[in-house]
């Protein structure tokens, strides 16, 4: 497999470390419920199809990336910096 790192270009997947599904959002602050945290830490959709997931380019630029990959074919539709995705996520959350 090869991942097109937005910083480094097309690189072999051996350079990256996988974390998992990027969709669970960490419940924030002191008032998060155990149930919400349980969901965040343990439960996954695990789709057979497009999957937004976190990869770390540890042997490259050290960027965390959000990769949208089809888990049946490994076709990669999009690769983005995780920080940009996280900021967008947080901005969305901030909107009342």
């Amino acid at each position: 497999m090869r991942i097109d790192c937005p910083c480094c270009g097309l690189r072999d997947n051996g350079e990256f470390t996988y974390l998992g599904d990027a969709s669970p959002a960490r419940p924030d602050g002191m008032d998060a419920s155990p149930a919400a945290m349980l969901d965040y830490v343990y439960r996954r959709d695990n789709p057979a199809g497009p999957h937004r997931e976190l990869w770390y380019h540890g042997a490259g630029c050290r960027s965390w990336l959000v990769v949208t990959r089809d888990t049946r074919t490994h076709d990669i539709a999009e690769v983005a910096f995780a920080r940009d995705a996280a900021r967008a996520r947080d901005a969305e959350k901030a909107v009342p």
Partner: protein
Amino acid sequence: MRYSLLSVLQQAFKGQRDWTPQWRDAAPKASYDVIIVGGGGHGLATAYYLAEQHGIRNVAVLERSHVGSGNIGRNTTIVRSNYLLPGNVPFYEKSMQLWERLEQDINYNAMVSQRGVLNLYHTDGQRDAYARRGNGMRINGIDAELLDQDQVRAMVPFLDFDNARFPIQGGLLQRRGGTVRHDAVAWGYARAASDRGVDIIQNCAVTGIRRENGRVVGVDTTRGYIGAKKVGLAVAGASSQLAAMVDMRLPIESHVLTAFVSEGLKPLIDTVVTFGAGHFYVSQSDKGGLVFGGDIDGYNSYASRGNLATIEDVMEGGMALWPGLGRLRVLRHWGGVMDMSMDGSPIIDKTHIEGLYLNAGWCYGGFKATPASGFCFAHTIANDAPHALNAAFRLDRFATGAVIDEKGVGAQPNLH
């Protein structure tokens, strides 16, 4: 026809004319007492034990493809009960005991071969971790021996003892561990279950699970609706998809594990050996091929193929452990999609939906568990309550914190 030397000889003279299909290729009936979804090893074993132990014979096993087409036929055939944690130890030992009498139980030679499983250690820390494991096994009445370097050398002298980057210090040996002919397990259970009245229905994919008033009433399939009082899911690799049909999200990710076989060779290695300083384990099949593997690829996958980074890693481990492998050739590598659970241990439990039972999360250790998994799942379904042996494999253990994390890597499936 009962299988025996006599029947084999008789048929040799009759041109093999009288053999019949090993199991009935059944068409679905309108309804069953129990439907097991998944015609792999665990599902077939469950059906067998339902019929044999609990007298529940109005059972169907639904298989989307053909019997044994999943991981039961893709694994590296190792059986062992050298587990560390209390939740796992008695369960896998039960499985070992069931393996030891499997052929007599089901009248099918699955070639259970107790040739030993040897886990190598390369540091003092690993030695102590294996001592902890071995002592725990012994306390549970399971055989375990901690070998020093000389003892390991006597068993497998061709490994790299003298020039290794991570020299072998010793190993943990379970002599009762070994290998089993994987396909034969599926076929043997299918035949034994079919003989006891179970309908094995192939090419029948479940497309929906119907509920009424909070309890299961049947399943929709590609061969029509089939009613059921109870439904058990045993579809490792696709558990999340089935669970999604009833809006459940599981603590499971699907990952691919690559396995390898070499060309056939005259006997080389008698035991199963695992390398402690890299991802590599190896045994030799009765046919002569070296069967080996390593770590999972490490990313969610439903594609049953691995990629080069992992393949290279496995070969490097092989050469580091056993430099005589160099000129031997890999014949074939293939992938299996497995349920990697969040703590590396399985789930055999009731669900919150009445009549729906779950058998999932086997990671890459499902094969050795096949008999006990069937035994315990059958018990759980028949009694609507878990057996003592699978009491720890609860679905709610992630909420309570009673996780069973042998490797101690936490809620990250790809590290288990």
